[in-house]
Each structure stands twice: as C-alpha cells, then as structure tokens.
Amino acid sequence: MTNIHAFGRTYTPKQMILRIISHVILLFGALTMLMPFIWMLSTSFKSLGEVFVFPPTMFGERIVWENYTKISSRFDYFRYFMNSIKVSVWVVAFQLFTSAMAGFAFSRLQFRFREQIFLLYLATMMVPIHVTIIPNFIQMTFYGVVNTLWSLMIPPMVSAFGTFLMRQFFLTVPRELDEAAKIDGCTPFGIFIRILLPMAGSTIATLAIFCFMNTWNDYFTPLIYISEQRQYTLPLGLAGMKGSYSTDWPVLMAATSLSILPVLVAFLLAQDAFVKGIMLSGMKD
C-alpha cells in the first residue's frame, strides 16, 4: 500500500478517498446553504427587467446601485437598526444579570421552597411563547407601553432558560471554593461577584449569544406589540417593506441584504464565540 502525502500529513489511500468524499458532500451542502444568500445579493443588483427572465441569470448587465439608494426613503434602515440595537442590548444585559443572580441563588442559597420554585421555572421552559402572549399583551396595555420599544424590552428581562443554564453551571463549580471565601468573611453576594461570576465567562457568553440572536431576529413579538413605523425593529421593518414592494424584487432584496448585514458582521467577527456558545448550550448535566 502506498501512502499519500498531503497537507503535511500522510494518509492511506482509503483515508484519502474518505476525505475526498467528505469534501464533495460538504462542498455540495455548503453551496446549497450559500446559494440563497448569493441569489439574494445578485438579485439586489439587477434591474427589474433582468429579474423576469428565464433561465435566470446570475449577473445582470450592469450593477444597479439604485436599488440600494431607492430603499432609503421607504426603509428607515438606521432607525430600525438603532431600535433593534436598543432592544437587544437591553434584553441581553438584563437577562444576563437576572439569570446569573437567580442561578446563583438556586445553586448556592438555602431557602424554603427552593426546589418547588425551581421546578416551576423548569416547567415554564416548555411553554410556547404563544401561550403567554395574550395576557402579556394585555398587561403591557395596562402599563401603557404597547407600541413602544418598552413592550419588547420588559417581558424578556427574565428568562427561565437563562436561569436554568446559569444554575447548571454554578452547580459544576466545587463548593470548596466559596466555603473558603465564606470563612474569609465574604457575603453570598461577594462570593457571587468575586468568585463564581468570573468563572462563568463561557456560560455567560453562551447565554448572551442565544439571547441576542433570539431578540435581534424576533418577528412575532414586534408584530404583536408595535404598530408605528418609527418603532419598528429591523425584521418588522423588512416585513413592512415586503408588503408594499411585493413585486419589486431587486429593491426588496437590497433591503433584505442590508437587514442581514449587522448580524452577519457580528457573526464573522466572533465566529468562534458563536460556535462555542451554541455547542455549550447543548451540553447538559
């Protein structure tokens, strides 16, 4: 058997074939995953006439930048973007804060009905958001915040999932650490801030990424709460655009490309954090 040298390593022919097959499948899959994005970009630079042709072409005659300038009057990109940022940053910050503290309480503090309360948290993790949306909507109307960003920011400040995730992490930290600190005169809050929180970096990152993705891409909640264009988040703004430009595909695709851009940049900058975060969330026990 002759071995094959490639990429500074040595493979048996069998290994090599397996690798090539893997690459072929993965490349084909990658193309399938990417195609819609490429198609979106290419359409966004075509003229309307070039869109209605069969067979479809990848590139138009020339690059039609006007599609991007045309949307500015209808698609208040900067405002929607700022709204999305506002809501996401607020929700992530508060969810991390409340989840970490509650996770600590559930894992370290002794108080009555602790297990019962935690069981309630666990039970609601399965409840679809659609079950709670109507009373929450009524509640928000009662506080007078419907149709403001507050209605998107207040309810998700607390998350059962986040609390669960943080508690699970704190349970893995050996108690000997905080007992030593306790002897040094640390209060429970001090133990939380000085000892446990600094160790929870990766769990916090996981929760932050999850929470950010969910909030940033949320369509259902703004659809229910927000009616004024000024308060639109990016997904709702795009959905509104879709209604009034239903057949102007190039302009619609230009808006879509722009709406994807921020989260795409964030992802490319922090790919490893994203990936690690997602992978961590799947690990139980």
């Binding site: 009524i138 109307t141 419907v146």
Partner: protein, 462 residues
C-alpha cells in the same frame, strides 16, 4: 369604557397577584420576601394611568396640536399622495400638525389597529377598511360624527354604495375616502394586432360575448383575460349580476348556495380550464409580477382589477383603456373603499374633524381622483362641471362614458359583513375551488355552512 379598563386591570392584576402570592410563600419567612415584591408591584401599577395622562398634555405644548394619523402603505405612490395632502392641510391650518404613520396593510392592519385600541394609543384619525368598520364602530371605538357630518355634508349627495357602507342604523362613524370598483382594463396594442375592435366603454359585455372575445384574443403567448378569479375584486358583482346573493339583506344569513351562484363559479372557472383563454389561477404568485405588469408586457390582453390600478397603469405609459366588467343577466358593478374615522378617545375631536373634512375635499380626495387612484363617492362630483375639474384624458381614458358605471354601483357586500372571518372563509374556499379543483357544489355548500356558523355565533354573542 370604565369596565374595559377594569377588565384589563383584572388580567394584569391576576398576573401580579400570582407574583405576590407565590413570592410570599417562596420566601421562607414569608413576610420578609413578600414585602419587597409587593412594593415593586405597586408603583408599576400606579404608573400606568400617569403615563396615559402625559401623552395628550405633551401634545398641547406651545398651543400646537398634533393629530396622529394611521394608515397603510398599499404602494409608495399612495404614501406620497397622503404626505402631500398632509402638507397642504398643515399650511391651511396653522397650529395643527399631522403625524402620519403608515402601518402594515391588509389583515395585519386590523391587528395593528386592534392593538392600538387595546393599548389606549389609538391614533386620532385612521384609515378604516370597510370590512372592519362595523366591527370597530359597534365596539364604541369610533367617534360618532352623524351631527357634524349632516351640517357639512348631505348623505344624499353620496353614491348609494358609499351611503350604505357609512350609515349604520342611521349613525355615521366616518367618511368614506372614495369608491373603488372592478374595471376591465385592456391593452390596445394586442387588440390592434389581432384586428379586433375595442370593448365598448358605455355598455358592458354579456359573459358569453366576453368569453368569445377571450377565446379570440388567446394565442400561444397571450391569454384573453386575467383577474376574474380574484374574488375580492369582482366575484360579488358577477354573483349579483346573475341574481345570486351572497347574503340576505340583513346580512345575518349567507345564501350563496344557489344554482345561480354555481352557474357563475362554473363559468369563471371554465374560461380557464375548458376554453383555455385565461392563465392559471396562481399566475400572479407564479411569476412574481403584478397584474399591471402582466397587462403591460402583453401576457394578457385584458385584466379585471380594482379601479385603483389606473394610477399605476397610467404612469407606466402604454396604450391602456377601460371598459365595464362583463355581466351574466343584468349589468352590475360593485363598489367599496376604506373610510376615515376619528378615535372616540381622541382629545382633539375638532381638529380631527377638520382633518377628516379635508380628506374628503378637493385637495386630497380630488387630487387622488385626478391621479386615477380613486373614484369620487359623491353624486355632485359626477356632474359635468365637477367632472371637468378632475377628469384628465391622459389618465382616465374612456371613463367619461363609464361615469354611471361608478356612480350607480351597488355596494360590495363584504363591506357590510359582520366579521372579517367571513371574507377569510370566502378566500379559503374559493382558493380550493380555483386552485385545487374542489367541486363547485361543495364550494358553495362549504361557504354557506361555514359562514353561517360564524354568523350564528356572532348573533348568539349579541
């Protein structure tokens, strides 16, 4: 109104009560933990009314009044028109500002409006789809304008269809914006190429003539007509022209299960599947074009669409003209359009009424009529002198011979229905009929049964 607030408070408090009670038992010692929880709750609840009161107060600052105005964006052209109108109004009424919010359109608009009502943030003035008008009016959401209205306008000056929509048992809760009706558009080039005379603008075609015309116009590249299967536009006109009725006069019972209705549905479908003179029922979704683009690019020779399409068609610039839609036994046209209404909770009733009047005047309605988007809803606007003011030959083509067609149109009955669920059922079942080949008999039977179930439920709810 008071009880409504109470209801909301009840539900909100239910959630809050849960918080207090469970926090109470969760905290071991009990007292220690429930106290801060309760404290946190109280200010939250107190803040709500305070925040409500602030809103109008802020508006009054500096003597300026700002009216909030909500509508939808059906097309960018329409929003531009609204914004133009607003700037004219603002220059005519110093001290009054209008802040316009285009919201989502269609069924989502209903949802948005409902949520503003529930959230106590109803805009002062709003677009109201005719299909929702009765639902919102009956719930006390809209200001009754009957008295103000009769001082300035005469209901008798409004065309029949407009009057029937606006008036609910002698009460008026808003002014209809205009009327829109189905129109038969045709591409003159295709008629010229085929050597076929144009359809008459003054006299509608009988269905059989229309069918023969479609067959003659159909070639390998061109279909005769598109749009007769779009039920929201024209189905009711066809039904009425054949003596079939969707509802009884009191709108309490659906009566669509009749031989006349079956005849109409069969005829419309057969134009496509037997004569092959109409494109597929899902054409619009299939090609991702608008109906206007299909007519413009010569994929169809004729198009049945709402009269609003004229604004865009006239601006594209190709030889298009109009005729009445075909009929079965008697020529029939139907009309409806959205209304402009004032919120019952608006603190600026007078300013809002001024704005409502403006929206019905020459500077707003008139401008949109001139552009071809709307047709007038007042009889006086159809008199010769008035017509000369808005009629633009470059836009309106053969409309001069069709004035009676618009003026005498019957009301589109779906505008009088009691719940938008009825029109959703109509869409669903006719979808199954046109797109899935559901049998005609089953279609009308399902329609009648399902709509009557809804109506019965509504009646029992009172």
């Amino acid at each position: 109104m008071k009880r409504t607030k109470l209801t909301k408070a009840l539900v909100a408090c239910l959630a809050a009560a849960m918080a207090v009670s469970v926090a109470g038992c969760g905290g071991g010692g009990g007292q220690q933990s429930s106290a801060p929880a309760a404290d946190n709750n109280a200010p939250a609840a107190d803040n709500a009314p305070a925040a409500d009161n602030n809103a109008p107060a802020a508006d009054n600052k500096g003597g300026d009044v700002t009216i909030s105005f909500m509508g939808w964006e059906a097309s960018p052209l329409e929003t531009d028109a609204v914004k133009n109108g607003i700037s004219i109004f603002e220059s005519e009424n110093p001290g009054v500002k209008v802040s316009y919010t285009p919201s989502l359109s269609g069924a989502e608009y209903t949802a948005k409006l409902l949520s503003t009502v529930a959230g106590d943030s109803t805009p002062d003035v709003m677009f109201m789809q005719s299909t929702d008008y009765r639902m919102f009016a009956s719930r006390g959401v809209l200001t009754e304008v009957t008295d103000k209205f009769s001082e300035e306008f005469s209901l008798d000056d409004f065309v029949d269809s407009a009057r029937q929509i606006m008036e609910i048992d002698g009460h008026v809760f808003g002014i209809q914006s205009c009327i829109v009706t189905p129109v038969l558009y045709y591409n003159k080039d295709i008629f010229d190429a085929a050597g076929i005379p144009y359809p008459s603008a003054s006299e509608a075609m009988q269905w059989e003539d229309f069918r023969q015309l479609c067959i003659k116009l159909t070639t390998d590249d061109v279909y005769g007509c598109y749009g007769q299967e779009v039920v929201s536009t024209s189905l009711n006109a066809f039904l009425q022209s054949n003596g079939a009725a969707m509802y009884t006069d009191d709108m309490n019972t659906c009566t669509v299960n009749s031989p006349e209705a079956i005849e109409v549905l069969n005829a419309i479908r057969d134009l496509r599947i037997v004569d092959n003179a109409a494109p597929d029922a899902t054409t619009l979704e299939n090609i991702g074009m608008s109906a206007n683009q299909m007519l413009q690019t010569g994929r169809v020779a004729m198009l049945i669409d709402g009269s609003w399409a004229l604004q865009e068609l006239a601006s594209i610039g190709f030889p298009v003209d109009m005729a009445p839609i075909p009929y079965f036994k008697t020529p029939t046209n139907i009309a409806q359009a959205h209304l402009h209404c004032i919120s019952a909770r608006s603190p600026h009733q007078d300013e809002s009424w001024e704005f409502l009047k403006f929206l019905s005047g020459m500077n707003y309605q008139g401008a949109l009529v001139k552009s071809g988007l709307w047709m007038p809803n007042r009889i006086s606007m159809y008199e010769d002198a008035a017509v000369n003011e808005w009629f633009d030959p470059a836009v309106h083509g053969s409309y001069k011979q069709m004035l009676g067609y618009f003026k005498d149109a019957k009301v589109q009955v779906s505008a009088l229905q009691k719940s938008s669920q009825c029109s959703d059922i109509l869409t669903e079942e006719t979808d199954k009929f046109f797109k899935d080949g559901q049998a005609t008999e089953a279609t009308v039977e399902n329609l009648q049964t399902r709509i009557n179930e809804v109506l019965e439920r509504l009646a029992s709810e009172g």
